[in-house]
């Protein structure tokens, strides 16, 4: 199946084509893998077979039982994301955002295509550090700080990419950002929310506290005193009947002030609902969530199903 002669020398490379199965299953040692990848360079047929067998292996992976990550893992990861710079997008003809219009699976939308704004400033693909948006694996406080600053300076589409990666981890789909959701949320609202979430996660004093809602769903309040931003993240929050909405509140000494509604279009399917709160958080505020008549109320009309203090 390959043009290589079987010389009978006993070297593993004598018929590299037969390694396609082991390659797809990650059953090759480093040296064997390098040899096989060199073979792939030279054969279109081999590349197709390798790709198909790799996709087949993925089906094996998707057939294993899912295991819920601990809350500690989620919190730890979100904390790390804020100081980990993303790599610069590759500037190449391969990626056309428009080609992404018909995703093979709903989850495809969870990872963003190369944003057009990034393509406007092409970067050298082999050298991530040459780009303004990523510092590769460079380390040290100053690098982390630069990364943090850059985060604020990124165009909205990159902020969306960042927020999408977070959404991908905490639960689910890009719909969680309201971008493609049936909920009628506008793109600009979603972009604003995503940018705020990214800014919040990048804040040097970002903190988190968790609680469980009355019906047993994990809720996390993420906040930063310096930025006055906060967000509530709830796993698997069920949808309400059509004439009701979840509403968020700042609850302080002076009573309750509305902080906006929480959309459940994703969380009802096991995903994660989140919302960056309207208004400003004051240190010590308690954030609560109630069920209100559609469109929300001026003041809460029911008892909160969850309340978390930003101590």
């Amino acid at each position: 199946m390959t043009g290589t002669e079987n010389t009978g020398t006993g070297t593993p490379e004598r018929n590299p084509g037969e390694l396609s199965g082991a390659y797809a299953l990650n059953a090759l040692e480093a040296r064997e893998r390098a040899a096989f990848e060199a073979h792939l360079e030279s054969s279109e047929e081999a590349r197709i077979e390798a790709a198909e067998l790799s996709d087949t292996a993925v089906a094996l992976g998707l057939a294993t039982a899912p295991v819920q990550p601990s809350a500690a893992l989620k919190a730890s990861l979100m904390a790390k994301l804020s100081s980990t710079p993303q790599l610069a997008p590759l500037a190449g003809p391969a990626s056309t955002p428009a080609a992404d219009a018909a995703p093979a699976s709903p989850r495809l939308a969870a990872v963003p295509p190369v944003p057009p704004s990034a393509q406007a400033t092409p970067v050298v693909s082999a050298d991530p550090s040459a780009a303004g948006t990523g510092a590769g694996s460079s380390s040290g406080t100053s690098a982390a700080e630069r990364a943090r600053k850059r985060w604020f300076q990124r165009p909205a589409s990159l902020l969306l990419a960042a927020a999408a990666a977070v959404a991908l981890f905490v639960g689910g789909t890009f719909v969680g950002l309201g971008l493609a959701g049936p909920s009628g949320t506008s793109d600009s609202f979603a972009a604003q929310q995503a940018a705020s979430l990214a800014q919040l996660n990048a804040a040097p004093d970002v903190q988190r506290a968790s609680a469980t809602t009355a019906d047993g769903h994990a809720a996390t309040l993420v906040w930063s005193d310096t930025s006055s931003l906060s967000a509530l993240v709830v796993d698997g929050l069920p949808a309400l009947s059509g004439d009701q909405d979840y509403q968020l509140w700042y609850i302080g000494a002076g009573g309750a002030v509305s902080a906006g509604l929480l959309d459940t279009s994703v969380s009802a399917n096991g995903g994660t609902a989140w919302r960056v709160l309207d208004g400003s958080l004051t240190a010590g505020d308690t954030i609560g969530m109630t069920v209100e008549p559609k469109g929300g109320s001026k003041q809460p009309t029911t008892a909160p199903i969850v309340a978390i203090q930003s101590s």
């Binding site: 059953a27 057939a63 039982a65 993303q86 699976s105 990872v111 991908l168």
Partner: protein, 156 residues
Amino acid sequence: MAPRVLGLVKRLLVDHAQSEEVTQEIFLEIWQSATRYEPARGGASTWIMTMAHRRAVDRIRSSQAGRDRDTKIGIRDLAVAYDDVSETVETRIEHERVEKAMSRLTELQRQAISLAYYGGFSQSEVAAQLHIPLGTVKTRLRDGLIRLRDELGVAS
């Protein structure tokens, strides 16, 4: 995606704490390279699961933990294990589809593929475990996967 990644990683590494650690590394890598993801090539879940399997295998091969794990697992039953915890309709259907396709393989192909994919063993280790020549393992892995590909209707 996180529960699926952790599910796969834990299948290979067994140890929960270590699996969470590797899962975190995988998602950091996804985060870092999300801007380079090319949607043309498979879906996002394909990309993520491929990376997850490779990182789990890397961990097994690079650590003493991998060696310890070998002795713990031995040649245990590596059929597609599935607990009825936190299942969704989607994963249940996927599981049944794969199980059915696996049943079309010869016992020897199934054994070799399970050891390699779910056990994280290299082809040489599979050969040693099954006491068969390396060339036979290569053939079983390739023929078995091609059969699975056809049964599952995977095409690029």
